[in-house]
Each structure stands twice: as C-alpha cells, then as structure tokens.
C-alpha cells in the first residue's frame, strides 16, 4: 500500500489541531519487508499442524539485526492479532484468514487451502508493517524476531486468564446496556460498514460463482478442439480447415484456463479479504461503542452515587480521555482504510478487466491468423462489422 498518497483529511480548525493524530512519522520508504512461505507440516502425538517461515528484512534501528527468520503457526498469528486489537481497540487491524473452511472441503492440509492461507497470512503481516501505528507494536516485533521457543514464553505474559474472564463479563454487561448517544459520524460509519459488508459478501459470492461457471465451461470446451480434429481425419479437402479450427479451439481453451487461474489467484483473495475486513470493522465499532458505554455507565454512577464522587470523577475524566483518543484514532484510521480499500478494490477489478481484455485479444489473434490461412475463400466473404 502506498502510504505516500495519504494526507490527513481532517478539517484544520485550530481546536481540532490539538487532537489530530498526524501520521507524520510515517517513513517515506518502506523499511520493513516480510515474506511468508515454505509451509511445513508437523506431526506430534497430540496434533498435526502447519508452520510457515516468516522472513523479515529491515533497516530499522530498533531491530537488533537486519534479517530475521522464524517459523510460526496459525495460532501465533491469532495471538498477534489479539494483542494488536487489545492494545489499539479502535484501530483497524487487518483480518486473518479463517480458521477453517466450514463449507465444502474441510481438509485443513489440502495444498490449495494451505497456499491460499499462506498468501493471506503474508498480506496480513505486510498490512501490519505498513500501518503507521501498528508497525511499532512491541508484540509485532516479538512475533517477527523471537526464536521459536521464546515466543510461547512471551505469549504467557500479559493479562492472566482470570482478568480476561472478568473483562469479558463486564463487557457482556455493558453490551446489554448498549450505548446511548452514538455520535452522528459513527452512526453513519456503522451504517456504511453494514452495507459494505453485505456488498462485499455478494461480490465474493458472484466471483466464486463466475469461477465455477468458467471451470465448467473450460471442461466442456476441452472436447471441442479434439472433436474437430477427429473429423479432420475423415476428410481430404476439408482436413486443412477443420484442423485449423481444431487448433484455434485448443489455443482458446488454454487461454480460458489462464484467465480462470488469474481470476482465482488475483481477484478472489482480495474480495475475500474485504469480506473479512467487514467483520473487523464491525468489531472495531463494537469496541468503540464499548468504551463509550463504559464512560456512560460511570457517568450514570456518578449521578446517582453520593459517596466516592472524587474518585468517580477522576475515573470519568480518564474514560473521557480514553474515548476521545479512541474516537480520534478510529477517525484517522477510518480515512486511511477507506483510501486503501478504494485503491485495492479498484485496482483488483481493473486488473481483472485487463486480464479479460488480454484473453479476448489472444483469442482474436488466434482466429484471425486462422482466417488468413483460409484467405482464398475468406476474401470472397464480405467483411462483417469491421469497426
């Protein structure tokens, strides 16, 4: 993602300047490159799982070295995502590929499943690396650099199980209560997220359907060329023409397969990622709402309680700051996300359209060169709808 194209789109009134989060410390050039590859399956007595090689190259000072190579499994990625969400509840953390495919093939170790997942994991880490805030997360650094044994030790640090449970219970109580006065802009944001998620889901389905139809088309088309070739064997005068048609059909069939591959490899993963982004965004809204709900409940408590008002007032103050920060962070990250969404989706669709143009151009060239060989008869045909 091109960070250079971003400029803060906030109104520059003096008051808002104070709270504005400026992404000025973005590096102009990327200084962190990550690749995810080399899936390996591991079998233990308890389970079977896959690890991926995560290779990092960086010129950043905070890193002890310029190159790192570690092996991580899906669980580790999940852990990282959880930590990022916890540390930055209203920043838009990129999505991870799903745990497993519920519908269709449930085979976790199917090659194409692993490949799809590998790519998605790579995209995830790159997006984190390109995020102006998340890229400096300590957990991120640990994820990229800690030798394999150390990571599990590091994972065990952080809030204990009991406090996690306590938080969840509180969260549930607050969720039940709901948020009272959601600001207009977040109301609009929420509406957009809902509609957007639905549209992405539809686009994902349509694209998958197109893949399926094209697959079936290719399968049937494979027979068309050979059938003409078979016929050519019966004939003398016609053999030439029939053979020509047969080879054109074969070539077009191959071009169709290439187009299908392109669709599956380039467009589908992007659409799927944005379907998952929809879920992420919903989560972000929830967490923001949660913070506001916390504040509101404390404010309510302050109104009705007579004792400990000093303490409560302090807590309310803290929560107000927390909400302010959260909202500001979300606002900025929202704009950033919108920009990259627009770029990602339009370039994915543009690339898909380009692939289709090239496909038709290849087929056109094939048929036109065939016609040239039949020029004696073709010359007598009136040229049809020449532009």
């Amino acid at each position: 993602m091109d960070m250079n194209s971003l400029s803060p789109t906030m109104p520059t009134s003096p008051l808002s300047m104070i709270n504005q989060v400026k992404f000025e410390d973005e590096p102009d050039l990327k200084d962190l490159f990550i690749t995810v590859d080399d899936p390996e399956s591991h079998v233990t007595t308890l389970e079977t799982f896959v690890t991926y090689r995560v290779a990092t190259q960086t010129s950043r000072g905070e890193f002890d070295s310029s190159e790192f190579e570690v092996r991580r499994r899906y669980q580790d990625f999940l852990w990282l995502k959880g930590r990022l969400e916890e540390a930055h509840p209203t920043l838009i953390v990129p999505p991870l590929p799903e745990k497993f495919v519920v519908k269709g093939v449930v085979e976790r170790f199917n090659d194409s499943f692993i490949e799809t997942r590998r790519r998605a994991l790579s995209t995830f880490l790159t997006r984190v690396a390109d995020h102006p805030t998340l890229t400096f997360s300590a957990d991120f650094k640990v994820f990229l650099t800690a030798p394999d044994g150390e990571l599990s030790a590091h994972k065990k640090q952080g809030p204990g199980l009991l406090s996690k449970v306590g938080r969840t219970v509180r969260a549930a109580a607050l969720a039940l209560r709901g948020v009272r006065g959601r600001p207009e802009e977040f109301e609009a944001m929420s509406g957009f997220i809902e509609a957007f998620s639905q549209k992405m889901g539809l686009l994902d389905k349509v694209s998958q359907r197109i893949c399926k139809e094209e697959r079936e088309y290719v399968d049937e088309m494979k027979e068309l060329g050979p059938t003409h070739a078979l016929w050519a064997e019966l004939e003398d005068d016609l053999a030439d023409t029939l053979g020509g048609v047969a080879s054109c059909l074969d070539r077009c069939c191959q071009a169709t397969e290439r187009r299908l591959r392109g669709l599956a490899e380039a467009l589908l993963p992007v659409l799927h990622e944005y379907v998952l982004y929809g879920e992420m965004l919903t989560g972000v809204m929830k967490r923001r709402d949660h913070i506001q709900a916390e504040l509101e409940s404390k404010v309510e408590a302050l109104t009705y309680k007579k004792a400990d008002t000093e303490l409560l007032r302090e807590e309310v103050g803290k929560l107000e700051d927390k909400l302010e920060c959260a909202n500001t962070a979300l606002r900025a990250d929202w704009e950033r996300w919108r920009q990259s969404m627009r770029l990602d989706l339009t370039s994915a669709f543009a690339a898909s359209a380009e692939r289709n143009v090239r496909y038709y151009e290849q087929c056109l060239a094939t048929w036109e060169s065939f016609l040239a060989t039949q020029s004696d008869l073709y010359a007598k045909e009136p040229p049809e709808d020449k532009p």
Partner: protein
C-alpha cells in the same frame, strides 16, 4: 475417386440402348466398369419429367412465412400444425425484377412426401435432407417444443434450403412432381400417391439382407458407406459437445450480470466511487446480455452442420441401393450358372454336384432320353432368358454406378464448399465475439482505473 468430373448439363439417366461389354457377364463384370453412353432425354417415366428448367438461374423459391393452423387429421381428431408459405418467382433476366408466379401453403408432412417420392424415383441421387422433425441437440435455453417460434423459424429456413437444393440440382429440378409441389396446392398429395411410388420402394428387410450378403460391391461404395457412418457419428458428437459448451458459456456471461446489480447497489453507499461503479455495472450488464446474439448466430452454424449430418443418411441410401442391385445381379448370375451346370450335367450324364434330380434319378432309376431332352430344352430356354436378364441387370448396375458416382462427386464438392464456408463463418463469429469482449472489458477497465 478417379472418376472424371461429370458433365452436369447432360441428363444422367439410365440409357437402355447401349452396346454391352460381355454377353454372358458374371458377377465380376458388374464391378467398376464404365459404360460409355450417348445422352438420352428420357427420365424415369415420361410423365414425371417436365420441360421446365427449374435451375436456380431462372426462378427464385422462398418459404416466406409460417402459420399455425388447426385441422382434422386422418383419424378425425383435432390437431395443430404449422403451414409454410412457398412462393415461386421467375426472373426474366439477371438482376431484373422478379415476378411472383406461384404461392401456396405446405405443411411439413407434404415436404416429407415429396422427399420420399424423390428417394424412390432417383435412387442414384444424393437427395437433399429435410430439417429435423423434432429439435435435437438443444442446449437448455433453446426450446425443444415444435411450436416454439424460434424452432419454427429455423425450420422455415431449413425447408427453404431444401427446396433451393432440389431446384439447383441438375436432375431433380426437372421432376414434374417437384414442379407441381411448387405450383399446385390442391390434389397434389393424390397425384403423388397415384404414382404408386410407395410400392416401388425397396423394402428395408430386402436392403438389409443385401447389405449382409453381397459379395462384390464396388469398393468405392463400401468406402463411402464407412465414410458416411463416421461422418454421422462425428457430427453428432460435435453437435452434442457444442450444445454443452453453449450452455456453459451462457452461464458465464449471465453471472456477470450479477456484478452489474451489486456494483449498482454498492455505488449507492459510496461518494467518490459512486459514478464509476455505476458505469462499471452498466458495462457488466452489456456483457451479460451480449451472449444472446452470439449464441443465436452459433445456432445457425449448428444448423449447417445438421444438414450434413442428415446428408450422411442420404449418402448411405445410395450405397444401400447399389448393394441391393449388386446383390440382385449376383443372385441372377448364380442362378444362371447353376442352370447351365444342370444343363451340362444332363447333356453329358455326369453328376458333378448334388442335385435333388440326381438323387431321385439314383433312387428311382434313370429317366428316359425323351424326358431328358425335354428337360434340357426347358433349361436352355431358361438359360437364354436368364442371359438376357443378366445382360440387362448388368447394364442397369453399371449405369447406376456411373450415374450415382457422378452425383456423389458433385455432392462431395458441394459438401466441401459448404462446410468450409460454414467453418469460416464460425471463425468470423468467434472474432466478432472477441471484439465485443475487448470493447466491454476495456470500458470496464477504464471505469475502474478512473475511480
């Protein structure tokens, strides 16, 4: 296939007044010989030929309309059928105006009657086929219903094509029944039936028997039969595959229409991307709907293939006729040979082969010389008759082979020309489809690039 190109202006009819090659022709003589003949103007019967030259230069035939009708059939039950308007125009001079000379309505069964008549009276001709009676090789969007307007339309074109083919055939175009088909609406059926052609038709069983038992058919016909079987098989297969491919292609294009719908909905919630998405959606709709015309054109290509699928059957019919005649000839020759042998045995008194007469002679004693004389006389008469018949059959057979092969050569050239044209027009169709695709997707790409 070494035969010279036939002179199509000569009427190629059996010529009875020919000098023969071998008087006591055996079965072997019937294979692959060419009898030179002086052209004769006679046809299969004077009353079936006409002076009118219906070659394509002089007249135009069209099946211009189709109409649903209801009537009563032979069992007095109500039925619905389609009638087709057959119009004939004569053209005074090339590029001159055409004048409508005849116009009448015919239904499919009458076309069938005409064709069956032609099959019987011109067994040496590859008779053009009719369009299919029921829709076959349909892909799912195409209706298999005989009353469906698209099917009726395609059948109308097929029937017109049939008439044009007959009219452009140097021999068939002069047939009187064909002429009456175009000019006399009422009573035509009765006239056809009065020719008694159904009785003249060879029984299927006889033909099948001949196919199995014939010993020495002309090799070219045997090869041709194999060719027509394989042609039929390969074209059927091609049509089936094509129908399935058309089905799938239709699916691919139509699903893109869903993109159109979703882009349009999505554009409603976007500000900067809104217009771009709307345009992109529109292009997707254009793409999705373009498949209808594309597949309609392809259907035309399928129809051209179908015609030759049915032509294969006509080819086989000619081969069958040859086998029948050849078998007939072989049987006659065999019969003659055995009679001659019997005669010889009676004359010399030796018994070389088993015969019932010989057996009974052994059992019940020799016959008297008078009895033997009279038997020899009878046999000699039969032999003489048999020799005449064999001569005639031989000649008939050779004429058939010559004339049939001439028409087959004509047919082959026509087939190669037509199919080459059809394949080229298929390529042109594909090119047109590709160009449309390039245009739509280039437009879509621009939309996305600008967003």
């Amino acid at each position: 296939m070494e035969q010279a190109a036939p002179d199509l202006e000569r009427p190629l009819q059996p010529a009875p007044l020919e000098p023969l090659g071998h008087p006591d022709a055996g079965p072997e003589a019937a294979v692959g010989e060419e009898a030179e003949g002086a052209p004769d103007e006679e046809g299969p019967g004077d009353r079936t030929m006409t002076e009118n030259n219906f070659c394509l230069k002089k007249i135009e035939i069209s099946v211009s309309e189709a109409e649903k009708r209801t009537g009563r059939n032979a069992m007095n039950m109500q039925e619905t059928y389609t009638a087709y308007l057959v119009e004939t125009r004569s053209v005074e001079h090339i590029d001159g105006p055409s004048v409508l000379t005849d116009s009448l309505w015919r239904r499919y069964s009458e076309f069938e009657l005409l064709r069956n008549y032609l099959l019987v009276y011109y067994p040496h001709i590859v008779v053009p086929p009719l369009p299919e009676k029921r829709a076959e090789f349909v892909w799912h969007k195409l209706s298999a219903d005989n009353m469906d307007p698209d099917f009726v339309e395609r059948r109308r074109i097929g029937l017109e094509n049939f008439l044009l083919r007959v009219a452009s055939h140097p021999i068939l175009c002069r047939d009187k029944i064909f002429y009456l088909f175009l000019t006399q609406e009422g009573n035509w059926k009765e006239i056809v039936n009065e020719t008694g052609f159904q009785l003249k038709a060879d029984s299927r069983l006889k033909a099948l028997n001949a196919t199995f038992r014939v010993k020495n058919p002309d090799k070219r016909f045997t090869e041709l039969k194999h060719y027509s079987d394989e042609l039929q098989s390969v074209i059927s297969h091609l049509l089936r595959v094509r129908a399935r491919v058309a089905d799938r292609l239709y699916g691919v294009y139509k699903v893109h229409g869903n993109y159109g719908r979703v882009f349009s909905e999505w554009s409603a919630i976007e500000k900067e991307m809104g217009d771009g998405l709307q345009s992109a959606g529109h292009h997707m709709d254009v793409y999705a709907s373009s498949i209808d015309d594309i597949l309609e054109d392809e259907e035309h290509y399928a129809d051209q293939l179908k015609e030759y699928l049915f032509y294969a059957e006509a080819l086989r019919a000619v081969c069958r006729k040859h086998e029948l005649m050849q078998y007939d000839l072989e049987m006659a020759a065999q019969d003659l040979a055995s009679k001659k042998q019997q005669c010889e045995e009676l004359a010399t008194g030796t018994v070389r082969t088993f015969s019932l007469k010989g057996m009974t002679t052994k059992l019940f004693g020799q016959e008297t010389p008078e009895q033997r004389e009279s038997r020899i006389k009878v046999l000699e008469e039969q032999i003489s008759e048999g020799e005449q018949q064999l001569k005639a059959k031989n000649l008939e057979g050779r004429e058939f082979v010559k004339n049939a092969w001439a028409d087959i050569e004509r047919f082959k050239e026509q087939k190669n020309r037509d199919l080459k044209e059809a394949l080229i027009s298929y390529a042109v169709m594909q090119i047109s489809m590709c160009k449309k695709g390039i245009q739509v997707w280039t437009n879509a790409k621009e939309c996305f690039s600008k967003m």
